[in-house]
């Protein structure tokens, strides 16, 4: 079942890639949409059969592969990875649907998109460190190509920067994973052995110093991917140059690989070291949140504003992970899903604004809310996204941020309060953006903007509806992840709280 989620898009990608060039781009596109729909439906079926009453891995698959290396094909899903898998399959479908029908080199494009989906799902499901690393790297090259081939003017620069940063992150990750096995003397890279007990944690826990060194590697590797300040500079460039669907995937799903990895391998493997590092991580989160938000205020490019807002919002996840309370862990899961949906919605809307108006500069754009000649529906959807991002009650962002702050406040009161300032800043930069671009009288320079069709609006509309539903009915997702979140936290020794108090 889980393998299907990975290999259906992978095989489809290969199939599309080798299709004769005579096949029309419309057929390629429809085929890609069909595959994305199938994987989405499959992931929903997995969710429906998922037993939410346990924190154990489910649907496990184990095939010995290179036994001498301890490299096995080991899959499983729990309450942490399942929402992200569904988010991934959903956003892939949305991104493929939102792709321009007249895109150049369609076969390569759609096969790369599907390859990314398969790779990301694989990473979320892997229970073997090397297998995770393999899938983690698999999405790297397709994304590089997607930016470098279908990107904007400075796509070469942005793609190379992305490649260098992420490849470095990959090297650090591989070194850390090798170090984990070497230091612990484990017999394989499996997180959970075929028998069910943890190979890596099976014996006595590692000494604290070794844990801290290994955790530092994990934090560096995933800190680049999330990204956290000061490793974030690749992200705004990549977003600005990437096409809209690629931005949706990048912000919506790929950044979550970073937070997921940090939770799964940082908190999951080194709970003692995590407890020591937690206050520093919380402070790091504050820096990331406030720096990202401040940068967003200064931007003129709508896409950069959304990109910097992503950096700020990923900081909340670090804060909540550092606090490591059951409520804050629920918050991280919800925030990952909700940020995926919200940033997807925002990037889609900005993409339509750019496509239909020819600019993303808030100094140039004006009056796009004009009822007959502007983009009133897209503007309204963007405002829904902006409101959700700023944590307005009734939308998914509120639930996630509330849980994060509620869960983190008892542990790190100062850092949490500082992060709350970040939500205030969110309203500021997004209101600046919406006010400049959408309000006022439409410029006289542009009498006729091209028509917006329902096909353009549907992807944003779908995401907006899900965001609203999740805002009033978060119980579905909470029920799915609750046990896993509590399970993750239970391994963390209670000194997090003591340390936090000592620091004051």
């Amino acid at each position: 079942m889980l393998s299907a989620l990975i290999w259906i898009p992978m095989f489809a990608a290969a199939l599309i890639g080798f299709w004769p060039s005579a096949v029309s781009s419309k057929i390629v596109r429809n085929f890609a949409i069909a595959i994305a729909s199938v994987t989405f439906i499959l992931s929903v079926i997995v969710a429906a059969q998922f037993d939410a009453s346990t924190s154990q891995l489910q649907f496990s698959e184990f095939i010995p592969w290179i036994d001498d290396l301890g490299f096995n094909y080991n899959l499983g899903v729990d309450g942490l990875s399942l929402p992200l898998v569904i988010l991934n399959t959903l956003l892939t479908g949305v991104a493929i649907y939102a792709t321009d029908e007249a895109i150049r080199r369609p076969r390569l494009y759609y096969s790369l998109m599907l390859l990314i989906t398969g790779g990301v799902t694989g990473a979320f499901l892997s229970q073997n460190l090397l297998l995770f690393f393999l899938f983690f790297e698999v999405e790297l090259i397709p994304l590089y190509l997607l930016i470098a081939i279908w990107g904007g003017e400075r796509r070469g620069y942005a793609a190379t920067k992305f490649l260098i940063y992420t490849a470095f992150s990959g090297i650090v990750l591989l070194a850390t994973f090798l170090g984990v096995v070497w230091v612990s003397g484990a017999s394989s890279f499996d997180m959970v052995g075929a028998a069910g007990e943890s190979h890596l944690q099976g014996g006595s826990p590692l000494p604290l110093v070794r844990q801290i060194v290994l955790l530092a590697g994990i934090l560096l590797a995933f800190g680049i991917k999330i990204p956290l300040v000061p490793f974030h500079t690749w992200l705004p460039d990549a977003h600005v140059e990437a096409s809209t669907p690629v931005s949706v995937l990048l912000a919506g799903v790929l950044l979550k690989l970073g937070t997921y990895g940090m939770l799964r391998f940082g908190l999951g493997l080194f709970p003692d070291a995590w407890a020591v590092a937690a206050p520093w991580l919380a402070s790091w989160a504050v820096v990331s949140v406030l720096y990202g938000a401040s940068c967003a205020i200064a931007q003129k490019d709508m896409k950069k504003i959304v990109a910097y807002s992503s950096i700020a919002h990923m900081g909340y996840i670090l804060l909540a992970s550092a606090a490591a309370t059951p409520i804050s862990m629920m918050g991280t899961v919800l925030q990952m899903v909700s940020h995926g949906l919200i940033s997807g919605l925002l990037f889609l809307s900005v993409g339509i604004v750019y496509k239909k108006s020819g600019s993303r500069n808030i100094d140039v754009l004006k009056g796009l809310f004009n009822p007959d000649r502007g983009l009133p529906v897209i503007g309204s959807l963007m405002i829904v996204g902006v409101m959700a991002s700023a944590g307005i009650p009734g939308l998914s962002g509120f639930i996630a941020e509330f849980l994060i702050f509620r869960g983190s406040l008892p542990v790190f009161p100062v850092q949490t309060l500082l992060c709350m300032i970040g939500t205030g800043l969110t309203s500021i930069y997004f209101l600046i953006m919406v006010n400049r671009a959408f309000f006022g009288r439409l410029s006289d320079l542009v009498v006729n903007l091209p028509q917006v069709r329902w096909g353009d609006r549907i992807p944003s509309l779908v995401l907006a509806v899900i965001i609203a539903v999740m805002g009033v009915q978060p119980a579905v997702l909470v029920a799915l992840s609750e046990k896993t979140a509590i399970g993750l936290v239970s391994a963390v020794p209670p000194q997090v709280q003591q340390l936090a108090q000592n620091l004051e």
Binding site: S359, N361, R373, L442
Partner: protein, 388 residues
């Protein structure tokens, strides 16, 4: 004898004075302009027909009905019609009332002075007394607030005044459209001539108003008041609706406290010739209501022009408003010619001089109007904001 050639005008809008003096219209001659003007006037005529019927119905049948819930139904209240009304599948009669109130507020002409005369007061009192017969509550209220009901009657007089004016304009525009379709009208100049001829021939038509209360007829605007079409209704209408208008919320919000609205009514310039078509489509603003009504009755040849533009039918109402504004400049031209002291083609220097002064008087008022815009070709191709 010295031939006195009139010196060129030094008015900022002298270019348009030259155009008018040479007998041409304020709208340039072009095939597309003809299509737009005739087409939009045809749909306008159909809408005006509905408006005028309703205005006359309200004046005659809803006389001093205090809660006129079904005043837009023209007396035909049925469940299907009510459903369509609630579903908003209807004509926006509110626009007609907006124009009526604008006229009432700005006043001007014989109708305005007549409704303030003692003669009107006594006639209105008679009708009010007849209407309130046996209704002691209302009689008491009328005693307590003696100015309330006469003001309502004044408003009803404007209902019928505008209704009768539009009745004639509707027929005129339909005739214009018929002539265009028959091929006898092909240019802007011919449109202006036709409208001018229509206005002149209707100029002296009487405007009267009487209501029937319990089988007895009460005059409100008697024939003896000598109110006629052109000076007492048409000219005040052009003044109130084309030029002055009222401030309303579009994308600009007007703040009276901040003196964004002129103190004096005579300084108002929110009329049809000044309006910005771009905010059209905003909910509830009067021009949107008219354009929304007109879009149902567009002739095919005009619809095709709009459909082939950049946004197609997405911005139909804005496009209609632009055409409508053009057509109103044609009608204004006809009005200017009709009211001119002397024919434009006169060769008498004194008459030329008088015409010049007359035209400069008009041009003083066109300063901030959309005249320049109407004289430029309409862009229908797609455009984008300049990059970055």
């Amino acid at each position: 004898m010295t031939s006195t050639v009139l010196k060129p005008s030094s008015h900022p809008l002298s270019a348009y004075i030259d155009i008018l003096e040479s007998g041409k219209a304020l709208l340039p001659e072009s095939t597309e302009n003809v299509v737009e003007v005739v087409g939009v006037l045809k749909s306008y005529a159909i809408v005006l027909d509905a408006y005028s019927r309703n205005l006359n119905y309200i004046a005659e049948e809803q006389f001093l009905v205090l809660f006129p819930f079904f005043k837009y139904f023209n007396g035909e209240v049925t469940a299907p019609k009510l459903m369509r009304y609630l579903w908003h599948d209807r004509i926006n009669f509110e626009y007609a009332e907006y124009c009526m109130r604008t006229m009432l507020w700005h006043g001007g002409g014989g109708l305005d002075s007549y409704v303030d005369s003692p003669e009107f007061s006594s006639l209105a009192e008679k009708a009010i007394a007849a209407k309130l017969k046996g209704n002691f509550l209302m009689q008491g209220l009328h005693k307590a607030f003696p100015e309330f009901l006469p003001e309502q009657v004044r408003m009803l007089a404007y209902y019928t005044g505008l209704g009768q004016f539009w009745r004639i304009m509707s027929d005129l525009f339909i005739d214009l459209s018929d002539r265009y379709e028959a091929g006898t009208i092909k240019s802007i100049a011919e449109i202006v001539d036709f409208v001018l001829a229509g206005l002149v021939s209707a100029a002296a038509l009487p405007i009267t108003y009487s209501v029937k209360i319990r089988g007895e007829v009460y005059d409100i605007l008697p024939a003896s008041a000598n109110l006629t079409f052109l000076p007492d209704v048409a000219v005040p209408y052009v003044e109130a609706v084309f030029f002055r208008g009222t401030a309303f919320f579009g994308t600009v919000s007007y703040n009276a406290q901040a003196h964004q609205i002129p103190e004096e009514q005579k300084e108002f310039s929110y009329g049809a010739l000044f309006a910005d078509p771009l905010p059209i489509g905003g909910a509830g603003i009067p021009p949107t209501q008219l354009m929304q009504d007109m879009r149902h009755f567009l002739p095919d040849y005009l619809h095709e022009v709009y459909r082939t533009s950049c946004r197609g039918e997405d911005d139909l109402r804005v496009q209609i408003c632009q055409s409508f504004q053009k057509s109103m400049f044609c009608v204004t031209t006809a009005t200017i010619f009709g009211l001119a002291p002397h024919p434009m083609n006169t060769s008498d220097p004194e008459e030329k001089k008088a015409n010049r002064a007359y035209l400069e008087g008009w041009m003083d008022r066109f300063g901030t109007s959309r005249l320049d815009w109407a004289n430029q070709p309409t862009i229908r191709a797609c455009q984008l904001f300049p990059e970055r």
